[in-house]
């Protein structure tokens, strides 16, 4: 009787899980595994079916200068956007957590970019970067800096995207720091200040170490974001000029839906997944450590 009930419970649990499991396998696990397998086959074209080609796609990738270019762009993009947006987020959180005049308004200003769609934001920023009539050039004109095509120049296009990304992300990361700051008892700071500890010293030696778990969470998320979000490229540059502002996922999109080379796109996706997995492992290893210390 008891065994029967136990088995019934197990069957019931799997039935509850079933609908979610079917969709999750179809749209997460199958594409991961299937994409990996596809990377060893050629793309089926008219009159030619897909056949096993071993590591040919990977050899083609290593020989593809555009692949290296977008990978380098993505690395520069991540290394530029992440430290700046995280540092600004930390500063914002400390300000909004303190006794700041007009605090609610300031917090709303910081957070607003988070809820706007990247496409809408890019539409607005496109005009800032427009040569001559754009705001950036108008400001430059005040200082006698000659007009330039900010998005049409290989030297500045990626930088323009990075500025936009910092603006979009900082307020989002701020709220995680803010949540962590609110968890630090205020008497701690009062006690330290009475003892004559400097504010900067207190921040460095007390606040910052306490924020470390949040910092790691934010860093991993920022890394994932910088490889996952490419919407602004569609509006601002379409990856140009000469792929100067293209990122890995945007290149995958172009290869898959512009050139319809799905095998090569799958090969590129394997690289992207490897990067994301690395970020995930970093976080999981850390979380494991924290559990041990508890």
């Amino acid at each position: 009787m008891k065994l029967q009930r136990q088995i019934a419970g197990q069957v019931y649990a799997w039935l509850l899980l079933l609908p979610a499991a079917v969709l999750m396998i179809a749209f997460t696990h199958y594409p991961i595994v299937g994409g990996f397998i596809s990377s060893f086959f050629s793309t089926a074209r008219e009159g030619r079916s897909s056949k096993f080609v071993g590591l040919d796609n990977y050899a083609a990738m290593i020989a593809d200068p555009v692949f290296w270019q977008v990978l380098q762009n993505n690395a520069i993009y991540a290394l530029g956007v992440i430290p700046v947006s995280v540092a600004l987020a930390l500063f914002m959180a400390v300000c909004v957590n303190g006794r700041l005049p007009a605090r609610g308004l300031v917090r709303a200003a910081y957070f607003t970019p988070t809820i706007l769609p990247m496409i809408a934001v890019a539409n607005i920023w496109l005009f800032f970067y427009t040569p001559q009539i754009g705001l950036l050039d108008q400001i430059c004109a005040l200082f006698n800096i000659p007009s330039r095509s900010w998005l049409g120049d290989t030297r500045t296009a990626l930088g323009c995207m990075m500025v936009l990304a910092v603006w979009k992300d900082a307020g989002f990361f701020m709220i995680f720091f803010l949540a962590a700051l609110q968890g630090i008892p205020p008497d701690l700071e009062e006690a330290a200040l009475i003892e004559g500890t400097g504010r900067w010293y207190y921040f460095r030696r007390v606040t910052l170490p306490l924020l470390m778990p949040t910092m790691l969470f934010v860093l991993v998320n920022a890394t994932i974001n910088s490889f996952k979000l490419v919407d602004h490229i569609f509006i601002l540059t379409k990856g140009g000029p000469d792929n100067a502002s293209s990122l890995l996922l945007y290149y995958i999109y172009e290869v898959a839906f512009g050139f319809w080379d799905t095998a090569y796109a799958s090969t590129l996706t394997v690289v992207l997944l490897a990067i994301l997995t690395l970020a995930a492992i970093t976080q999981f290893r850390y979380m494991e450590k924290r559990v041990h210390y508890r």
Binding site: L23, G35, F91, R107, F227, A256
Partner: protein, 265 residues
């Protein structure tokens, strides 16, 4: 706080608000004033009228609205059932199943565009709203959040309901779901804003006005080829973001707390 910090915080707030404020300025003034900031500039609503005429915004809004409702309904149902199984049942393979769910937290369908397109295409769902929504319905994130919430429900409440003769589904409906309401609200807000703003997957799947959500519509409308001027683009952009923006300004606290809650694991 020191004066420098206050000034820094305000300057940053100004910079962060500026693009949106600027779009509002451009949208409500004639094209001649897009970079001339004089207080006497005449106000106008023509840009909004033009934007509404140039692009089928009403249709886009309807599509987006339908899309986020469909995804949210799917997520609530699927994730609730799965989270209940993980929170309150013991079954063989539970740990592995949960690990497989966690895979999706790091590798979301957003980056699996190549294979997912093939799947959606073989199901005959290209250019349908269901085709946009389907990959997102079994959300690992939703399962994770709801599982946490269900685990915090005291077992005694469940047992009390059991004694009164309630079955498993009745317990879920009468005990767990009502107690997890704040989690549903938080998850709902994050999900709705995510999918209202989502672009890459919808642009791949849709190719007609009947299915395009607002973001995709906006990208076509804002493209240089469309030939509309910047004032009109600003007006269209404001139209597209207004539902979420107004909701945010009214329910600011809930929004910030929802995003906070969803990040703290």
């Amino acid at each position: 706080m020191q004066k420098v910090e206050v000034l820094g915080a305000w300057l940053l707030a100004f910079l962060w608000a500026a693009p949106l404020l600027y779009a509002i300025w451009a949208a409500f003034h004639p094209m001649d004033f897009i970079s001339r900031f004089v207080l006497t500039a005449p106000l106008t609503l023509d840009n909004f009228g033009n934007a509404w005429k140039v692009a089928p915004f009403a249709r886009y809004f309807m599509n987006s609205f339908f899309l986020v409702c469909l995804i949210l309904a799917g997520q609530f149902i699927l994730c609730t059932l799965a989270a209940y199984a993980f929170a309150r049942f013991e079954f063989p393979g539970k740990e592995i199943a949960f690990l497989l769910v966690l895979v999706q937290i790091m590798i979301m369908p957003d980056v699996l565009i190549v294979k997912n397109y093939q799947t959606i295409s073989s199901l005959g769902l290209v250019d349908t709203i269901l085709g946009i929504g389907l990959p997102y319905m079994a959300s690992a994130f939703g399962i994770f959040l709801l599982r946490q919430a269900f685990k915090q429900v005291p077992k005694e409440l469940e047992e009390a309901a059991r004694v009164e003769g309630a079955g498993w589904l009745a317990v879920l409906w009468k005990v767990y779901i009502p107690l997890a309401k704040p989690t549903y609200l938080a998850y709902g807000l994050v999900s709705v804003s995510y999918h209202w703003n989502n672009f890459l997957w919808p642009v791949i799947i849709t190719n007609s006005t009947e299915t395009r959500p607002v973001t995709v519509g906006l990208s076509i409308f804002g493209a240089p080829e469309s030939g509309v001027n910047f004032s009109v683009i600003s007006a269209g952009t404001l139209l597209a973001v207004s539902p979420l923006l107004i909701a945010f300004l009214i329910f600011q606290r809930q929004f910030v707390q929802s995003f906070m809650r969803s990040g703290i694991k």
